[in-house]
């Protein structure tokens, strides 16, 4: 077990394409860190640099207290679980798991006991003599994880390991990997493009875009205080609603005014920061559950948005209501039993204390 430190790590591809730009992160021993972002954001490249599969263009990577920049992957004391499982198709499950140990000249007894233990943890004991072809996606993924476990590495690396599974299997494996982490307590770095995986599994989440770190935080802080518009839109499903507008009014009663007659009071906690934006454009962000939800409606006197219902999407426990306001749409997430009719004008309440404000120029959060 070990901590992993990345200092000013760069990856520059031929043609001066910066895949990863000045990446700084200290991952504590035993921590579960998730790198998340859209495809091409540099998250996989970062992981592969930690693994040693990708050359580091600049900076330092330490695993434990050792600089590993020039250490080949096999000597880094890491293992990796790949998106396509990367199981050797011609070997049985047992051989797949034992292969790394065999190459490291472990005694046969030790190999057998480790394979058995991993199989027990993952519940694949009865599959040991099968070939990968005869396994389902979830089973293959379990074998891939098993192959990583038997090595007892200092760091586990996961490269989008659940993307090839169906939705149901993905949820199940998510839980299993989380359980595995609490069981083994090993440092894990997990790459995904799925914000749900990131939120549910990570102790800390690193949101990346265009090779740059956008924000590093635990899931709740990330959700409640996105550092910029990108993080705000990326984390949360359905994504945060954004409204363009201006800050108007005098000291003490600042309001946000947008298209379609939208007028919302600025909550007290933002007043100081937003005073500087008077008569200037700002972006308002509201999460779907903060518009028209039971919590918002209960707070009487809260401001409301007057808009036309365009689409109703019942999800079972709740419904997503798509509203049209002038030329913009926004989504509200409400209790499934509340009735909305397409074409009607409605006035959902807004939980304005939970609003987020962003500077349209820099896209940064205004605090």
């Amino acid at each position: 077990m070990a901590r992993v430190i990345l200092e000013h790590v760069n990856k520059i591809y031929p043609g001066n394409v910066k895949a990863v730009d000045d990446f700084n992160l200290e991952i504590k021993d035993g921590e579960f860190v998730v790198l998340v972002g859209p495809s091409g954001c540099g998250k996989s490249t970062t992981l592969r640099m930690v693994a040693g599969l990708e050359e580091i263009s600049g900076g330092i990577i330490k695993i434990g207290d050792r600089v590993v920049n020039d250490v080949p992957p096999k000597d880094r004391d890491i293992t990796m679980v790949f998106q396509n499982y990367a199981l050797y198709p011609h070997m049985t499950v047992r051989e797949n798991m034992a292969f790394g140990l065999k190459l490291r000249k472990f005694p046969k007894k030790e190999i057998e006991s480790r394979v058995q233990e991993a199989a027990r943890i993952l519940g694949i004991g009865e599959l040991l003599e099968r070939r990968p072809k005869a396994l389902s996606g979830g089973q293959r993924q379990r074998v891939a994880v098993g192959r990583a476990i038997v090595r007892k590495p200092a760091v586990f690396l996961f490269d989008e390991p659940l993307s090839n599974l169906d939705a149901k299997m993905r949820v199940q494996m998510r839980v299993e990997i989380s359980r595995l982490h609490s069981q083994l307590g090993t440092t894990m770095i997990y790459v995904t493009h799925d914000q749900v995986e990131a939120m549910t599994m990570g102790q800390r989440i690193v949101v990346m875009k265009d090779g740059l770190i956008q924000q590093v935080a635990d899931p709740i802080s990330l959700y409640d205080g996105p550092a910029n518009r990108f993080v705000a839109g990326f984390i949360g499903m359905p994504p945060m609603n954004v409204f363009e507008g201006h800050i108007r009014g005098g000291q003490g009663n600042l309001t946000f005014e947008g298209v379609g007659g939208l007028r919302l009071p600025v909550p007290d906690k933002y007043k100081a920061a937003l005073a500087a934006y008077r008569d200037k454009p700002v972006t308002l962000g509201l999460r779907p559950e903060d518009i028209g939800s039971a919590a918002a409606e209960q707070l009487a006197g809260d401001p409301r948005i007057r808009a036309v219902v365009e689409v109703v999407e019942p999800m079972g426990s709740e419904s997503y209501i798509y509203f049209r306001l002038a030329d913009t749409t926004f989504i509200s997430r409400v209790d499934a039993h509340r009735k909305f009719k397409v074409g009607d004008t409605s006035e959902p309440a807004v939980f304005i204390d939970k609003a987020h404000f962003f500077d349209p120029q820099t896209n940064r959060r205004i605090d």
Binding site: F82, A86, Y88, G100, L103
Partner: protein, 634 residues
Amino acid sequence: MAGRDIKWREIKHHWEIYLFVIPTLVLIGLFLYYPAASGVFHSFFRWNGADISEYVGFQNYVSLLQSTEFWQSFKVAFLLGGWNVVKMIPALLVAVCIHRCRSVRMQFIYRTLFVIPMVIPGLVVVLIWRSFFFEATSGYLNRFLYSTGLFDVLSHLDKFFNWGGIFVPGQSPAWLGDPRLILVACVVWGFPWVGSFAVLTHLAKLQSIGKDVYEAADIDGVNWWTKFIRIELPLIMGSIYLLLVFVIIETIKDAGMVMALAGMFGGPGGKATVPALFMIRKAFVEQEMGYACAVGIILTVIVIALQKLLTWVMNPERAGFRSRRAPAAPRAVTAAESAQTDDRARRLIERRSSPVYRSLSRVGAGVLRFNKHLTIWAVLAFAFLPLYLMIVVSFKTNTQFYAAPAALTAPFHPENWAEAWRLVMPTVANSVFISTSVTVLTLCFALCAAYFFARQKMPLSNFFWNAILILMMMPMIANLVPLFRLLRDLNLLNTLSALILVGAASGQVFGVFVLRNFVADIPGDLYEAAEIDGASHFQQLKNVVLPLSGPILGTVGVMQFVAAWNEFVLPLIVMRDHTRLPVMVQLLRMAGEYLKFWGPLMAGYALASIPIILLFVFSMKLFVRGLTEGAVKG
């Protein structure tokens, strides 16, 4: 590509991977590049390969370019090349017919049946044609012409077009003895010209058309011809282009088949002399090796230029090609026009739903379906003819043979086979040894080199790769003369090692090319997983690549084995000692003897063909899989 760029400064972590490519580089360097360089050098000398060696500058080239015989040989080669393109059509036709067969079992049966006669070594087929079909007095070609009355037509044509009395009533045309007919014979032999490789390639491509495409076409009301033109042909166009280039180039640089059919001197009047044959004759008969080297150089230059030209001309991506096909600029459709079109469509549907039309079209479709099988069986009958003759005649005495060559006549003489066994067996053993060694060496070295090229991009790997690609275009036969000289200097003349090493060297080119594609198609994360598991390059090759490459190794291996088995030009020149001859040269020797015993001769041909037929039949499943999976991908 699984590979990633490795820079010079990282080389210390990866230097071992160069070990993988060294055997290949040594082989091609020594047996392909050195002779080529030496050929260029010697083309400036008056050189007889031994004591005379005198610098003459460009004199060889000058006299070569002024020689009518030399240009004549290219004319012959281009003529044959053109005809060989025409001869590609039956294979395409057969492939489409087999593909259209509804039942999978029939498809399988037809495919197998086609492969069997087509894998008879080319030399054996040529020899059979030489003795049974082109023979003047009782050859089947003449008998066919007489019995169908075509001969009379031809003799009228002869008079009309003034061909100069080739076909005169009462006088059998001597196909191989008449200088005016020898080229025709070179074109006609091997009818119905259905090469197994071409059929299998076309079939593999056709099989990738999904059933749903045909269903959609049926719903759209597409007829069988349009299906062929619009669906099947465009899809196999890629492989047709490839085969076309391949066929033309092969013909231009070929010497073997013409040599077997018409002899070392290109038949009567040397009319069938092709460039390679011209070169061999200059070198080994007239002892003008320097001159022959110059012929080789020019042959190389022309082949490479032709290849560039053909790929350029036939590149479907080329703008000119596309604009010719592009429809005229769209024009607004008026309401009247569209009403007219609707009307026409309605009338068409009405017509099609009339009972007369329906029954007619059903009959038509039935005839077509019947024709499909009929076509296949007709072609099959012709294709099996040489095999049939070979087997039937092998049980006859000469008396029986002259009385009725094609009929089964009792008593059978199985002792012919014993006699043939005695004559052919030692050379068959030689051939088995040579071909097996060539195949094993080729596969070992080529797989290692393929790993080198596919796995990572190392410094210099592009350079080495281009070195191999260039060899793909270079006609090996053009280097025959300096290669002969090299083998003599290495003391390898008249040894089996010479044939094995040269075979393995020339096998590298194709082998590395195909296997590299395959190795590169293995998902990159398998290698990465192995790397993280701690596998060295050798362990990755052994534990990841090798277990996965069974089918492709089988395919390349079979092709290498067959190529080595059928090769006879090099051994003919290199080998002296008749106990060390490969079987093909032995067959050629037997066919050249004045007094022929047909029974044992045919049994010998059969013995020389059987190993290859067996190999193909048993490996065909693998072969087809290899073709569909990787080999034709490029």
